[in-house]
């Protein structure tokens, strides 16, 4: 910045060059031989003199450029005074332009000045903030919401007038009624883990929890992982992630996660004690109503425990499942018929199926059903509620490549479905359609059987590309989707649309012929 000075010299009229020194004046005249310095020569009391203005030499003075407001990490203490002055100027200008209330302006001033002050401590403060629990909980909640919002690609400006709207309804019905919907897979938590269990939430039908076995490639990661996935939103990451020290549903622990707390480790876990389970727990079922419910678990050593969800330190009751009072049953699957909290069926490693009761005179194992030639992998009780009670029917899947249909009233299978060429790992009745069930096998095949259509081959079948062996299959509570878990940590969601449309009027219209002859009174 340059400033030009115009030197003003005041000289007496009489002597333009050498004004006489005036003694006794308050101001003294100063002689200065250097013409580049400002000379101000005061008027004397002797009256005004004529003032002669003349151009003087330009004086060049450099002013440092105005400090740019920058937030660097060094201390800015000497300059804060400057900056606050500048901001006050700017604020004044803004006040003229805006007609906002004055308090707002003052707040802004304060904010800006606070900004200046806090900026110096920011690095440490930042770390502090990032580590605080408030921040963590804020971050978790808002990131979840944000991811959902990001995933929705709703184009609200879309103009339908320009192109035909694809008729999606027409696709279903022709050919297979299984259509791929979603794939849930998390790079970090699903990789190299086998899916051990799937379950849909009753309270929020769009939520699905999948439990995973341990990751052998990553020994430092927690052994057990459970992820909660949401099919309602398009985001591809799990809603919640839970860890557990042991592979989930595989070693003798049963744990309960509290979704409300923000911790990722189990809130409660049952102790590994002789009173509870000491063998892998493969079956977990919650029975009862929403208010009065119990957690029933069975481990492979034949012990069944009933727990109250409020207190997991000790089971409410235990029972050893032994057949004929001698042989403990190695349970691999358990199922309760709809609405029944006392009687249930279990499948065992030897391939036999048993019915059992929790209470009553015949508490324990009641009857034995033989038929499978290999360990029973999955067991499912008929669950669709309709005009006829089919709750005595249940199906089982086994390593012997078959799925068998049983009734609790007969100890031989009613029918055997033999369309698979590999171990059948899981089977489940549809919760809404009385004649439909799904099965998955080790070749990556998902089958949908509709007994009203055909009992020789599945009505719909799909081999999931990229899947190795399918471990688990679970229908959603509405019966519209099927979740399939595979041995590599992937959860596949398939829509079963068309098949379900007429379920309300559907009945199981097919009976195995020998049963019709045997039991007239059961036949509708």
């Amino acid at each position: 910045m340059f400033v030009c000075l115009l030197k003003v010299s005041i000289c007496k009229h009489a002597c333009p060059f050498f004004p006489p020194p005036l003694v006794g004046d308050i101001r003294t005249l100063q002689w200065d031989t250097d013409p580049s310095v400002l000379q101000l020569q005061a008027d004397s009391e002797h009256g005004r003199r004529m003032q002669r203005l003349g151009a003087s030499k330009i004086t060049q003075v450099d002013f440092l450029p105005k400090e740019v407001v920058s937030y660097c990490k060094e201390t800015q203490t000497p300059l804060t005074a400057h900056l606050s002055e500048e901001e006050e100027e700017e604020d004044e200008e803004m006040m003229e332009a805006k007609s906002g209330p004055e308090s707002e302006q003052q707040d802004e001033d304060d904010n800006r000045e606070n900004k200046e002050v806090l900026r110096e401590l920011t690095e440490e403060e930042r770390q502090q903030i990032l580590h605080s629990s408030e921040f963590q909980s804020f971050f978790e909640c808002s990131i979840r919401v944000m991811e959902r919002a990001l995933a929705e690609d709703s184009n609200i400006f879309f103009d339908y007038g320009g192109r035909e709207l694809e008729d999606k309804e027409g696709d279903l019905g022709s050919g297979s009624s299984l259509s791929f919907s979603r794939l849930f897979y998390d790079e970090h938590w699903s990789k190299h883990r086998v899916i051990t269990c799937l379950d849909w939430s009753l309270q929020y039908p769009e939520l699905l929890v999948a439990s995973y076995n341990n990751n052998e490639d990553a020994p430092h990661e927690p052994d057990g992982v459970a992820l909660v996935w949401n099919i309602k939103f398009k985001k591809a990451t799990p809603e919640y992630i839970f860890h557990c020290q042991s592979p989930v549903v595989s070693v003798g622990f049963i744990v309960l996660w509290d979704n409300r707390s923000h911790r990722r480790t189990p809130v409660q876990r049952t102790p590994l004690s002789a009173a509870a389970h000491t063998h892998p727990v493969y079956c977990v079922n919650v029975v009862g109503t929403q208010n009065a419910n119990n957690l029933i678990t069975v481990s492979t050593d034949g012990r069944m425990c009933s727990w109250s969800l409020d207190m997991l330190s000790q089971p409410q009751e235990t029972m050893e499942l032994v057949y004929n009072k001698s042989k403990p049953v190695a349970v691999t699957g358990m199922a309760f018929p709809t609405g029944d909290v006392n009687n249930y069926v279990v499948g065992s490693e030897e391939g036999t199926v048993y019915t059992a009761s929790r209470h009553g005179s015949k508490a324990g194992i009641c009857e034995m059903f033989e038929g499978h030639q290999g360990p029973v992998t999955g067991i499912s009780c008929h669950s669709a509620v309709g005009t006829v009670d089919f709750s005595h029917l249940f199906i089982t899947s086994s390593f012997d490549w078959t799925v068998k249909l049983w009734s609790t009233k007969h100890n031989k299978p009613l029918y055997s479905f033999e369309d698979n060429a590999d171990y059948v790992y899981d089977v489940m009745w549809s919760p809404v359609h009385p004649a439909i069930f799904a099965a998955v096998d080790g070749m990556g095949r998902l089958d949908l059987w509709n007994l009203n259509n055909d009992t020789e081959v599945p009505t719909a079948s799909v081999t999931i590309e990229g899947a190795s062996a399918l471990n688990r299959v679970r229908w959603s509570s509405g019966g519209k989707e099927v979740a399939v878990g595979d041995s590599e940590g992937r959860v596949w969601i398939y829509d079963t649309g068309e098949v379900q449309i007429h379920w309300r009027e559907a009945q199981l219209s097919w009976w195995p012929s020998r049963w019709v002859h045997g039991n007239e009174k059961s036949h509708q």
């Binding site: 937030y71 806090l118 990032l130 921040f135 804020f138 808002s142 990131i143 944000m146 991811e147 990001l150």
Partner: protein, 96 residues
């Protein structure tokens, strides 16, 4: 914190996400994936906007509170998740 970093990186790599800023109630950016100048600009402006939006919602119904704010413009979309103590701001370019 490493998890926060990871999560931010993951979101940043998603389709169309231009930047993420976390601001505290005073308008000071705590974490950001944008350059300093833009961060400061966004933080200051958005902070005012959120305050105005929040007071609007509350004036209409004192029992109500602002939960999410989405500003859609021609070129991009700014999504703000406000909380008691912090805001999460994500700038996205919806590609389709």
């Amino acid at each position: 914190m490493a998890e926060v970093e990871e999560t931010l990186k993951r979101i940043q790599s998603q389709n169309g996400v231009q930047g993420i800023i976390i601001v505290n109630t005073e308008g000071i950016p705590i974490k950001t994936t944008l350059d300093n100048a833009s961060t400061v600009q966004y933080a200051g402006l958005i902070h005012q906007l959120v305050m105005k939006a929040r007071s609007t919602v509350r004036d209409i119904d004192p029992q109500n509170d602002l939960t999410f704010l989405r500003v859609r413009s021609k070129k991009n979309e700014i999504m703000i998740a406000p909380d008691k103590d912090y805001f999460l701001i994500v700038i996205q370019n919806p590609s389709d």
